[in-house]
Amino acid sequence: MAKLNMVQAINMALKQEMAKDNRVIVLGEDVAQDGGVFRLTDGLLDDFGKERVIDTPLAESGIIGTSIGMAMAGLRPVCEMQFSGFSYLMMGQFEAHATRMRSRTHGQITLPLVVRMPYGGGVRALEHHSESREATYAHLPGSKVITPSSPRNARALLIAAIRDPDPVVFMEPKHSYRAFREEVPEEEEVMPIGVAQVVQEGTDLTLVSWGAMMRPALKAAAEVEKKRGTSIEIIDMLTISPLDGDTVCRSVQKTGRCVIVQEAPRSYGVSSEITARINDKSLMYLEAPVKRLTGYDVVTPYFGREKNYIPSASRVVRGIEETLDF
């Protein structure tokens, strides 16, 4: 097994699926010759040629719109939005067609396509390059939204996304692109979409996160465990639509306490949905309010200030302790 960072792992997934299935086409801005501005698609052009790896004109709606057409005609486009901050330009097409075609034709026409996009902050980027707004796509029925957190699950989930019969928004936490490496098996590994993962079992508190926030969450959990011998169950949501609330509820029924870590603004974010799911099925097990450690309802600040606007491990530690001491 090679130790890969998330960029390499995603690149590996793309190469392996493209080698297996010539219906898979990669398109987007700067994905071919340049290999993507983050090098996610590096080498694909050499391996698969310009018919399958396409530098498109600069138009997000056009990228998804043509991908939809390709998918209608039996291809499996994997298109890229250069940054999630520009993906709003594709929402018209995505909502009107990608998410609905199966439903309106009762499955006669389906759109197996993947929209990859880097999201989130922490890389000192220009404005519009640091937003975390995964809930926006998760609120659209008919779409699936995945937020991997590590090289290994990113690779396994991207393969699942490419093989999935429905449109998948694959949101890559760009802060994690090169933040760390992980063993990733050469042989194929596929993870299920729509299933959260209990990455550590515990009995005293349930700690939930996804994407780039898994790192401060894990760090904080370790610190609290060390400090107070607390047993923390840690859940990585992995998919945020359709959301696996049951795994969280099962855990909360055991621990009675829950802390959710979210990078996105607080209102109408994923932590609100998870909290609502806990309310629906596990309210009476709660010994303390679900603690939501999130970004704030402010416009994402420029990178000069961003550090304090992204939940830190120490903030998570405090949140965990407050919830334990409630």
Binding site: G65, L75, P77, G92, R104, P165, P242
Partner: protein, 367 residues
Amino acid sequence: MPKKEIAKFSISHLQILDEKAKVDTKLEPDLSEEYLVNMYRWMRLARELDERMLKLQRQGRLGTFPPNTGQEAISIPAALAMQDNDWFLGAFRELGGRLVRGEPLTSTLHYYNGWEEGNILPMDNPRMTPTSVVIGCQIQHAAGTAYASRYKGEDAATVCFIGDGGTSEGDFYEGLNFAAVWKAPVVYICQNNQWAISVPREVQTITETIAQKGIAAGMPCLQVDGNDPLAVHVAVTEALERARKGEGPTFIEAVTYRLMMHTTADDPKKYRSEAEEKDAWTREPMIRTKQYLINKGYWDEAKEEALLAEVKAQVEDAVKEFETPHGWKEDEPFRHVYGTEHPYITEQHQEFLREIQADLAKEADHG
């Protein structure tokens, strides 16, 4: 300011059969009697269905729909010029073309009466998409289907429609550009019927023609008389040939007129004069097409009456079938959110079934 010219463009207009049914024999396509009569038959059927749907809607037996009357000479000749494996991507005013491509009349009726079942076509892997309500989107889909056809080594092309108003959407321009850059086998047809609901063509854009918008993508573009089925046939046929030869997309502006209301929810009196409408009726396509057949010696009043009776009957049968109870399931949408199962959808599906049972029970009590 004086400077050197580096690029020149021009837009031409094609008309073969004018409103008086005078035909330009130099341009007249060589079409068999059978082909022409068949084309006219589809035009009549579409007109008949359109008129019948209006009555049904007015009687509350059908939902809102956009009448097609007056635009039969565009999507029908285009559809007839296509191969089976070509893609037909419409907007929402291509009734005739959809019928030619195999949409059952009952499906049209079910669609406009609010049932997804109307979108399910009888053939497998249909190469026609449902109505594209959100304006402009289909232009981009067409670049994608065309790219896919070529990628798969098929000789299939894509024919895609849009309205004059639709050409103001960014998606229209983006889609044209993708198709041109990819040299994709697409034929784009703008049905310029002069109106976008209440907005006239000249408020939509100040360009001399809609056709010239193709220049922005570097694709061949021309204008045709959209009430002239021969001009449409010739333009689409030549564009399809270019597409199949790998010469890329073409943009065709077909000039016509929306003779009826935008949809049955619209009242044109708010924004245009009856005089304008009356004048437009003098150029509508049916009369000239029928006269052309007569002049050719292919047609007479007896045949006309027979055809009218035939299409009436066909429409009547469709309406009957449409109005026989179908018993489609209320919970169908839950089965088609995803192609895969998910517990949270299943859970809501169960909840839905409980709730409608309870609602029905309650209604039962109350009356």
